[in-house]
């Protein structure tokens, strides 16, 4: 079949199959579930796009997606929640002073570095300055934290946010992630390639640890719930006469067939269903806009002179460097860009969840699963990452019922109370990791291009 070799046809086919799968879920399970999966699919694809920018364009291995996504989540909290005035009143001044001390310390370290001659003494002096600064910061920071966390800790116990519309947090989340990426990139880029992987693994663990423990910032494991939404709430829709009117119009023929006495109850049921679906469709619309926007930018960037330079660097660093391209700087740029995209997706995810739960960030779900998406979709191909994000997320969700069903089937011959049977049924969920790992290994080995392999454009010669 030569038709399958045609890249455009492959893409169309892959997306049609994906759409078919979602429709199947809608018809056989429920439309609400299908839309939930779709929304998370879109977010996953955006994360995969971010990783693909780093891996596919420049060959940078970022194992810290989790941390960058979590930073996006923080942005959602800090932008959208109303400020807690009382907490600012009791701890604001000390916290700001602590912030000033951070700047002073950094400044002092820079001065020491400039003034002293290079060598061990310089390093020790910088170390001492840093240590002294650390104690100075702590003298302001500790009382600030204690007083802020004491403010009505059951409800607040943190500073709150800015009280702005949550949608603003999406670009801000990207900025946060970009900032973290700048620090990591400055340190680890330019050394051997696996150092970046190790450094990103580290920073993501630390970011999540900070979010779990700094209660004054994000309430830590107490979670921040009921974040504002960019779309209406179901409950408000259900009482809005206009929305009920729409539902009535949409279901007019069905309603006409129902006896008069039951019509009101039926309409109420329909309104409830319609409201959840409406909310999910609104989210899907917003997310799709972001996805298409980022996808377009990525494709344009990849085909621009800048994109050509990136590919040249990826394919042959030595040659590109000989042509006068600054490799470390280009890598830093692309690392920051990719991380920012992941941060945006992280903020979107928290927006969709409506709550920020630092405990839910785990590297297998937020880092390695994204990697599987990129590799399977086709590294270096933006559309490939999108289809990879859709497909893998779909499998990740649907693997659970399928896995449970399979386990039921396998163990059906066993005794009802057998310990092995119960163990197998309990552990079925962990098979997902195993299957994902296996898929990754198989694709890397037998089809390294993925579903939609990267198209290499060559000029006619």
């Amino acid at each position: 079949m030569n038709l399958l070799q045609n890249p455009s046809l492959r893409a169309v086919l892959a997306f049609s199959i994906m759409a078919g799968l979602l429709v199947t879920v809608g018809v056989y399970q429920s439309w609400s579930l299908a839309l939930t999966i779709l929304n998370l699919c879109i977010i996953s694809s955006i994360m995969a796009l971010g990783v693909n920018i780093q891996w596919g364009y420049a060959g940078l291995f970022n194992v810290g997606t989790m941390g960058f996504a979590a930073l996006g989540g923080v942005a959602a909290v800090l932008i959208s929640k109303a400020p807690v005035a009382e907490a600012w009143a009791v701890g604001g001044v000390n916290l700001l002073l602590a912030g000033v001390m951070v700047l002073v310390t950094i400044g002092a370290m820079v001065v020491v570095r400039r003034v002293m001659a290079k060598g061990t003494m310089q390093f020790l002096a910088m170390f001492a300055t840093g240590l002294a600064g650390y104690f100075l910061i702590r003298t302001f920071y500790d009382p600030a934290v204690t007083s802020i966390e004491a403010v009505d800790s059951a409800r607040f116990g943190y500073l709150g946010g800015l009280g702005l519309p949550i949608i603003i947090s999406w670009p801000i989340g990207g900025l946060f992630a970009a900032g973290a990426a700048w620090i990591v990139g400055k340190v680890a880029l330019g050394l051997r390639s696996d150092y970046l992987a190790i450094a990103t693994l580290g920073i993501s663990e630390i970011i999540v640890a900070v979010l779990k423990n700094e209660d004054w910032l994000t309430r830590g494991v107490k979670n921040v719930s009921s974040l504002p939404r960019p779309v209406p709430f179901e409950i408000n829709l259900q009482v809005s006469p206009q929305f009920i009117g729409w539902v009535e119009w949409f279901h007019a023929s069905t309603l006409a067939g129902i006896a008069d006495g039951e019509r009101v109850a039926a309409l109420k049921q329909m309104t409830i269903e319609a409201s959840t679906i409406f909310v999910k469709i609104s989210y899907a619309g917003l997310f799709s806009i972001v996805l298409i926007f980022i996808l377009m930018l990525s494709v344009l960037a990849l085909n621009s002179p800048w994109g050509r330079m990136m590919r040249a660097i990826r394919d042959n660093e030595t040659a590109a460097s000989a042509m006068g391209k600054n490799i470390t700087r280009s890598h830093l740029q692309i690392f920051i860009l990719g991380s920012a995209v992941v941060g945006i997706a992280g903020a979107m995810l928290t927006t969709l969840d409506g709550q920020f739960t630092p405990g839910s960030y785990n590297p297998l779900r937020f880092t390695f699963l994204i990697w599987v998406m990129v590799i399977i979709g086709g590294s270096g191909n933006n559309l490939g990452s999108v289809i990879g994000g859709f497909l893998i997320w779909f499998m990740w969700i649907e693997a659970e019922p399928v896995g449970n069903y399979l386990m039921e089937f396998v163990t059906s011959g066993m005794d009802e109370n057998s310990a092995l049977r119960n163990h197998l049924l309990d552990s079925a969920q962990h098979m997902r990791l195993f299957v994902m790992g296996l898929i990754l290994l198989i694709v890397l080995r037998f089809s390294p291009g993925g579903i939609l392999p990267q198209r290499v454009k060559r000029s006619e010669s």
Partner: protein, 337 residues
């Protein structure tokens, strides 16, 4: 004077002894990382999960022994099960090399792709461990719990502070010393060990000298698996076994290997202790220690803790960052290829 002794004992009890034990465990883990780094030339992300896998097998065998009434007297039964765990893990790891890594090695694939492959292997092993033993905490230590109990120490010395040494801690240090000695003897004196070092220094030259690469690679994996299993079991005896904790050990182990200098076995040991002691000293609350040492009026009011224990991973990371910035080759000049 008593105050001073009390302070020393307190410090030993909460920093020195735990640090030594943790450092030994990290050193064993980092040795495996650095060997794979040096000889196979990639950062093995599956190393933490190899530890978890080996420990799991050892735990299962330990339970089996326990159920049959076999025990090792004052020593933990896990020590009896350990050789079986090592053999099975080594078999699994060598098998993994056969079906997974060898393909890429033969094609001389870029290291970063192999790193990614090792991430896939990590996934698979993690899934297996969670599937077989579950994601929860498992305790499998038995035998005598303490070498010296805090109360006995107090009675013996008449000091206010007690020094408790758990048998698992003593065991860790003893096993680590024996193992490291054996490994160094192997690397320095035996033919295969010398071949491994030659291979690590210059692959092409080693191949020209007629060294069998397959054998080197096999031996490397076996040693790495053995070190990982032993480090994992010792860590599990000392604390407890939880698959996710083992995955998180990856960062301190990488930090230790890089701090010491990639591909340098001595460096891995030094790095292991540097990371472990930094972690313990930085997260220890010095309040009581300072109360003993300082005059009464200077007694600190806070906990005097530099960093909360929740941030112990930050310590390895900061060490890593400082080393990468100041001396990317590590303390003992490792390779930087």
């Amino acid at each position: 004077m008593t105050d001073f002794l009390n302070a020393i004992v307190l410090f030993s009890n909460f920093v020195l002894v735990p640090g030594l034990a943790y450092g030994s465990q990290l050193a064993l883990g980092a040795l495996g990382v650095t060997l794979v780094f040096g000889i196979l030339r990639f950062a093995n992300f599956a190393h933490g999960d190899t530890m978890a896998f080996g420990t799991m097998i050892t735990i299962l065998i330990t339970w089996w022994f326990q159920s049959m009434g076999i025990n090792f007297g004052v020593l933990p039964t896990a020590l009896l099960a350990l050789p079986f765990g090592v053999v099975l893990t080594a078999l699994f790891v060598v098998g993994t090399d056969r079906v997974v890594y060898r393909y890429y090695r033969e094609r001389k694939t870029e290291p970063i792709i192999i790193v990614m492959v090792s991430v896939g292997v990590m996934f698979v092993m993690n899934g297996l461990v969670r599937f077989i033993i579950g994601p929860n905490d498992q305790r499998f230590a038995d035998g005598q719990r303490f070498l010296i109990k805090a109360r006995e120490f107090k009675e013996m010395t008449g000091l206010d502070e007690g020094l408790a040494i758990r048998s698992s801690q003593a065991l860790t240090v003893v096993v680590a010393v024996v193992l490291v000695a054996a490994l160094f003897w192997y690397l320095q004196k035996t033919k295969t060990g010398k071949a491994m070092r030659a291979f690590s220094d210059n692959e092409d030259l080693a191949l020209l000298s007629g060294i069998d690469p397959d054998k080197i690679v096999r031996v490397t994996w076996i040693i790495a698996a053995a070190l990982a299993t032993i480090a994992g079991v010792l860590y599990g005896l000392d604390k407890s076994f939880k698959p996710f904790t083992y995955f998180q050990l990856l960062l301190p182990m990488f930090a230790a290997a890089i701090v010491g200098g990639i591909g340098q076995p001595v460096g891995a040991i030094v790095g292991g202790f540097v990371v472990a002691f930094s972690e313990v000293t930085i997260t220890y609350a010095y309040k009581k220690f300072l109360i003993y040492l300082l005059p009464n009026e200077w007694a600190p009011s806070g906990l005097m803790q530099l960093l909360s224990t929740d941030y112990k991973f930050a310590v390895s990371f900061i060490i890593l960052v400082v080393v990468l910035l100041v001396r990317p080759t590590g303390i003992l000049k490792g390779r930087l290829f």
